[in-house]
């Protein structure tokens, strides 16, 4: 059984930086909605939905046999994100990016290694190591980590001002990003 982790990254209080959380919530809702008609699989339909804002890390698990998809949100990066990815075969991370390669709200999808300079440096902050290096550390330690990490990214420079709301173009891009994640999940489930 393939274990996939869909994980929204960022700070939900830091404007568009929290878009990953919104998209992850959208994906979770969509998956639960999809599981309802079949009944018996996944969560009960009358079960209250855990909010990522309330539940924080570690909640929002949606088992969907025969594959297993878990949806979660995470604030950290680097080593702590790598540690969260241990035990999964596939991972889709969702985050705001400020690459300047498209208009605000532009949704892109690429493998992690396509990010600029994935191999160098220490950073997500000045304290840590980047995710690429962290994954290498984990693999060197023998941890079971996703063979491939796909990134669904939403372009925005508005990630430095505290707010629990997304800017309108980024909010408008959430459904598209949700769809992109669902497409990736669909591709992964094909034999």
């Amino acid at each position: 059984m393939t274990k996939t982790l869909v994980i929204g990254l960022g700070n939900p209080l830091l404007g568009d930086d929290g878009v990953g959380w919104h998209v992850a919530e959208g994906v979770r809702q969509a998956l639960m909605g999809a599981s309802r008609p079949t009944g018996g699989e996944g969560r009960r339909t009358d079960e209250p939905l855990p909010s990522p804002y309330r539940g924080g890390e570690g909640e929002g698990s949606v088992p969907r046999p025969p594959s297993f998809v878990e949806v979660d949100c995470h604030v950290g990066g680097g080593l702590s994100l790598m540690e969260r990815l241990v035990g999964y075969d596939r991972a889709i991370v969702i985050d705001a990016v400020n690459l300047g390669q498209g208009p605000v709200g532009h949704v892109t999808c690429f493998p992690l290694e396509a990010l600029p300079h994935p191999s160098v440096g220490h950073l997500t902050s000045a304290h840590e190591t980047n995710l690429w290096t962290a994954l290498q550390v984990g693999r060197t330690m023998g941890a079971h980590l996703p063979a491939q990490v796909m990134v669904v990214a939403v372009e925005s420079p508005y990630v430095y001002e505290f707010s629990d709301k997304l800017t309108p173009p980024v909010a408008a891009a959430v459904p598209q990003a949700v769809q992109k994640v669902l497409e990736l999940l669909g591709q992964e489930e094909e034999p």
């Binding site: 990254l9 960022g10 700070n11 939900p12 209080l13 830091l14 930086d17 924080g56 890390e57 570690g58 604030v75 950290g76 990066g77 680097g78 080593l79 702590s80 994100l81 540690e83 991370v93 985050d95 705001a96 990016v97 400020n98 690459l99 990010l115 600029p116 300079h117 994935p118 191999s119 160098v120 440096g121 220490h122 950073l123 997500t124 902050s125 000045a126 304290h127 840590e128 190591t129 980047n130 995710l131 690429w132 290096t133 290498q136 550390v137 984990g138 060197t140 330690m141 990134v151 990214a153 990630v159 430095y160 001002e161 505290f162 707010s163 629990d164």
Partner: protein, 500 residues
């Protein structure tokens, strides 16, 4: 020298940005270090119930949410005029000690040690934790991951959640721990003590036994004679969670201690036109510019600062290391200090890495002490507040500096004003001075600017473990440090980017 106006927009690009200005002779005239600042947090908080602050503020930063949680909880206690019971304080400190072990471990192995294990001139692609693991052995990697795992496990047991604890509330905690949890916490703590000792031995073998590194640590390029501040307990020993803030002068003599509610009598903030971030300084001494010495109010708040501001460590093994630290780096001063009580101080900024490991050992020992406290599983972990909320200050030592939260509320406990002085902000002036001094020592007329040279300048600020605050913004996962070197006419000579 031509004055260059720096476009304020460049501050907001998400870069740690250094501008180096050369004079007519090709010597360094000045440097500017700019940090992107997260904006609007105080405004975001106003109008919310104050008891939300321990969970709101731990979202400020993905690096030290536990520190914000603790400072906020203590500020909430003060706002509600309630004294948490001793068990609550001990449980909070236990959580905090375990957090310190995970945080200091990460800094040393991911950020500090690569410069020494791989060498300051090693290619940047190797100068990281992966390089350290490849060079020293897989065992190192396993231990680092284990230390983080244990630290996070304790945070989750006491704090209710991994990384972002949620159990500290006005008057104490919302839950305690069971005997089974206590046993588990004790076991992990004893492992952490051994790991901290292993880390100090590693530092000994790799750094202190290499005379080139010792010379580098002791060199003038990385030395500043400033004031230091740090929290101490009633015996003037380092404490991360509770106590007064001790202030020592550049001779290592204590000039006073302040309680959290007195911070505004001691700390003021200076502004510069080229950055939004303010420069805190000692009010009683005054702002005299970016200069060393007794007449300058510039102070430092780091692991090195905490050791300087205290009389020792409160646990036995860390105290031994504390004494070894001073007898190695400031022998005569320390002997005089031990016999006459005169000041003792280490000004070498690269020694901060060693100081951080001594704190790692202290945190691990304190973890065990608290986990074996006979009352720690008691269910007396909260005093219900009964007073009308007004105003309060909470201070803890964050790993990268003294962290101050100050809240004002109306009679319903709704926030009307918030003021925070976060860890790295304390050190903005000394970091800027350290960068300038390193650049002045390393760049002269005819110097070839190389990646290695850039790294040696970068090492000046890396010792401070500066927090850019934006740590939660994880992708693309790098915050480039950009160094622009300009000649006397303001023309760009060289631009170097490093993903630090």
């Amino acid at each position: 020298m031509q004055r260059i106006t720096i476009d304020p927009i460049t501050r907001l690009e998400g870069h740690g940005k250094i501008e180096i200005f050369l004079d007519e002779e090709g010597e360094v005239a000045n440097t500017y270090f700019q940090i992107p600042e997260l904006r609007g947090f105080e405004r975001f908080c106003v109008g919310r119930p104050v008891e939300e602050m321990p969970t709101l503020t731990n979202r400020i930063c993905g690096v030290c949410p536990e520190a914000h949680h603790m400072a906020a909880a203590k500020a909430c206690d003060a706002v509600y005029h309630v004294e948490p019971p001793p068990i609550a304080k001990k449980l909070r400190e236990l959580l905090y000690s375990a957090f310190y072990v995970a945080d200091h471990t990460t800094h040393f192995y991911a950020l500090g040690s690569p410069d020494f294990v791989m060498g300051p001139d090693a290619p940047v692609a190797e100068r990281n934790i992966l390089g350290v693991i490849h060079k020293v052995g897989l065992e190192i990697g396993s231990k680092v991951i284990q230390a983080r795992k244990y630290g996070h496990a304790v945070v989750e047991m006491i704090g209710g959640r991994k990384v972002h604890p949620c159990t500290s509330i006005p008057g104490g905690l919302s839950k305690g721990i069971t005997e089974e949890e206590r046993q588990e916490i004790e076991k992990m703590g004893r492992w952490a003590v051994e790991f901290a000792q292993f880390s100090l031995k590693l530092f000994d073998d790799i750094v202190l036994k290499n005379s080139a590194y010792v010379d580098m640590i002791m060199s003038d390029a990385y030395t500043h004679r400033t004031y230091y501040i740090g929290m101490v307990d009633e015996n003037n020993k380092v404490n991360f969670y509770d106590g007064k803030i001790s202030v020592v002068d550049p001779d290592g003599r204590r000039i006073g201690k302040y309680a959290p509610h007195e911070y505004q009598d001691w700390i003021a903030e200076h502004t510069e036109p080229w950055t939004y971030l303010k420069f805190p300084y000692l009010k009683k001494i005054g702002w005299k510019g970016f200069v060393d010495g007794k007449d300058s109010g510039v102070y430092c708040a780091t692991p090195l600062a905490r050791l300087n501001a205290a009389d020792g460590m409160a646990t036995p093994r860390a105290q031994e290391e504390y004494e070894r630290f001073y007898t190695t780096l400031a022998q005569q001063e320390y002997e005089r200090y031990s016999s006459t009580g005169a000041g003792k101080v280490v000004h070498q900024r690269l020694a901060t890495h060693w100081a951080r490991l001594i704190e790692l050992l202290y945190a691990a020992e304190r973890w065990v002490e608290l986990a074996t406290d006979p009352e720690i599983t008691s269910d007396n972990f909260r005093t219900i507040p009964t007073e009308t909320p007004t105003e309060g200050v909470g201070i803890v030592e964050a790993p990268r500096g003294t962290l101050t939260h100050h809240y004002w509320t109306d009679e319903r406990g709704i926030l009307t004003r918030v003021n925070l002085i976060v860890g790295t902000t304390n050190n903005y002036a000394p970091i800027s001075m350290s960068i300038k001094k390193a650049a002045q020592s390393l760049i002269h007329k005819g110097t070839v600017i190389s990646e290695g040279l850039l790294n040696r300048i970068e090492m000046a600020f890396r010792a401070y473990d500066p927090c850019f605050g934006c740590a939660t913004h994880s992708l693309p996962g790098q915050m480039p440090l950009e160094v622009t070197i300009r000649d006397a006419r303001g023309q760009v000579v060289e631009v170097l980017k490093q993903y630090c």
